[in-house]
Symmetry: C2
Subunit: 381 residues, 2 copies
């Protein structure tokens, strides 16, 4: 098993000026200045806009970061898995919303046990049979908060059709062991559409079912306590839609190549800076025109193109994968070179699955390693 | 942090008949019957062929599996990182060959410390300055075994040119703290070429520098103690080349979609069965034509296409990624369906980076969970 954080080689560098330059690689870097600026910018925008935030931890998987976001005003933390929820609740995070359906007996049992020791835990549901199973497992002594998941374009979980949603809400309300907590309407498919106007148009069309549902509920005198959805790419549009009480963006705290390639016009994305990097060392200079590094397919997500070199390489150099454990930095000009042992930092292609590859963040302030934060929500269990 | 293995939910299913069907998902499955057949088939082929095996642990990252391979006749274990080497040596694995260059001061210090407590540890080098640093750190009391890495088509680490290799061997021989252990000549780029004759032709051309080098060394009376290289896709061709004393295949123990798509003619690949699967549960059936599962971008590698459904889904169904934590099973025929909570198993697109996402193997014999093996070499540290 990996050594405890306190036994890792990089721990000896904590607090040493310039230590960012000498980390054992590959290392996941969190630049605190940029991270804190991102957290503050979104928090201040949300305050001014009058909308809640329950930022999504599928990006960071760290109870430490969830707490930092709550300290900045977030209502809690959205999470993707029961294991993230357990790690966060047991670290003292309140207001955890599990944004995936939990349908098997083992996970429902863990959910109910977790609910007993949690503050304001919520889970989503999109199926009558699942609601019945949740109701059977939960207890009226501490009812389980259930949000109904509504399909608005993600094509994953989510009920289709106003009548079906209303039916499911009534079913939740019929059980004393459950409490109707509101609606989730998340649209992952629209978040990273590069063009701003394309993104706005698709979002507007995709939100039609939610608009109709809320009107139908209003006509029946039903006001969902929470309507949660939205993300980094659409947060300003989500707020303008007037449909949500709170948003669950994740990537804005770190950003990545995907969001870096989005058209920023009017989307508020220009506010956010890259705070997440993978640091890698040159381990071979044996060939002309390129050098080989120690960060390959296991050090970056591979679902969204190649890493983008942020610092440390000659002008115009590009990064590519060369297998499980190797990367390549190709030079743009003849005569460019890099010395063996030299380090570069790259912006990951996609933040969430990149973070998922690591056990800890190397937290830096400028050029100094100031802390190491465990990624305590990672892994499947 | 993730719970200890002994505290995980799936532990309670150990030894229960049919428990494979009820695992908490997503779960990485190792099918023992297929795994053992693969290990035995390669071992028996190597024995008959008279070639050594030092299977590559970048595939499995498990000291338990490394020991099983040694018990079946392997000379040791190839590894990709210093952290894998440390985990394996400290678990009692001998004959570890680190197939990446270690060039930074922190890693060289760990390498030398590890060499003091290891049996027959080896590392590669492709750079004169690196050899000098290794020599300065190592001690004549227990010399460090150094293999010279030769470029044969991978385009990663590896010296180009017979004269440069000979120069580097002489440099290694000049230091009492180093011992020339042989040559590494690994060609990752050719392993998974789908057509057998294309693969054979490219390999033959790529091995030319090694052929010339060995002839030049022979003319000088130098016989490298070890010549290591080759992989699953080319192992029969590697042996026929007569250039290698041992091979370092990895994927054959588990196989994957990549190797499943290779033309098997005369390559020996037809011998090997899929033993590695990702098990996932249906968590939403709210839409017609498809269901949503709990295994997405964080449960599979994404560098080599989509997972292939092995068992559990209707005829013709296909798998696709729907974000970080979700997958989709799309039906081929109208009227096909799957119940909520139903589980399927998929062949991963690429075995090595898929294993790297998990902390343990769920080891099954038929339909029974019989053990849980830690993936003790995973992670970067």
């Amino acid at each position: 098993m990996p050594p405890r954080l306190e036994d890792r080689p990089n721990m000896r560098l904590l607090g040493q000026a310039g230590s960012r330059q000498y980390l054992s690689t590959p290392a996941l870097i969190l630049d605190l200045d940029a991270f804190e600026a991102n957290v503050a910018a979104m928090a201040s925008w949300a305050r001014e806009t009058g909308i809640g935030l329950r930022p999504h931890a599928k990006t960071h998987k760290s109870s430490r970061i969830a707490k930092a976001l709550i300290a900045a005003g977030a209502k809690g933390s959205s999470v993707a898995t029961i294991s993230e929820a357990e790690a966060f609740v047991d670290a003292g995070v309140g207001g955890v919303l599990i944004t995936s359906t939990l349908v098997t007996g083992d996970k429902i049992a863990r959910l109910v046990a977790l609910n007993d020791r949690a503050r304001d835990l919520m889970v989503i549901a999109d199926d009558p049979g699942n609601v019945e199973k949740l109701a059977g497992a939960a207890s009226a002594a501490k009812p389980l908060n259930v949000m109904i998941d509504v399909e608005v374009g993600s094509g994953r979980t989510g009920v289709v059709g106003t009548a079906s949603v209303i039916n499911l809400i009534e079913r939740v309300n019929s059980y004393p062991s459950l409490r109707f907590a509101g609606l989730q309407a998340y649209n992952g498919s629209v978040q990273a559409i590069p063009g701003h106007s394309d993104r706005a148009a698709k979002l507007d069309a995709d939100l039609t079912p939610l608009r109709e549902l809320l009107a139908a509920l209003s006509a029946r005198g039903v006001k969902p306590p929470i309507v949660s959805g939205g993300g980094t790419g659409t947060h300003q549009l989500d707020a303008k839609s007037g449909l949500f009480t709170e948003l669950q963006p994740g990537s804005y705290i770190v950003m990545d190549r995907i969001y870096g390639a989005c058209d920023l016009r009017g989307s508020g994305l220009g506010t956010f800076r890259h705070s997440l990097f993978v640091r890698t060392s040159v381990i071979s200079t044996a060939k002309p025109g390129y050098v080989t590094t120690d960060a390959g397919l296991k050090a970056f997500s591979t679902d969204s193109g190649a890493p983008v070199i942020a610092t440390g390489a000659p002008q115009g150099a590009t990064y590519s994968f060369k297998g499980d454990e190797h990367g390549r930095i190709s030079f743009a000009e003849p005569g460019q070179s890099m010395a063996i042992g030299h380090q570069v930092e790259c912006v990951p292609p996609h933040c969430d699955p990149t973070v998922n590859l690591y056990d800890c963040y190397h937290v830096v302030r400028g050029d100094t390693l100031v802390d190491i934060w465990p990624i305590d929500g990672r892994g499947h269990w």
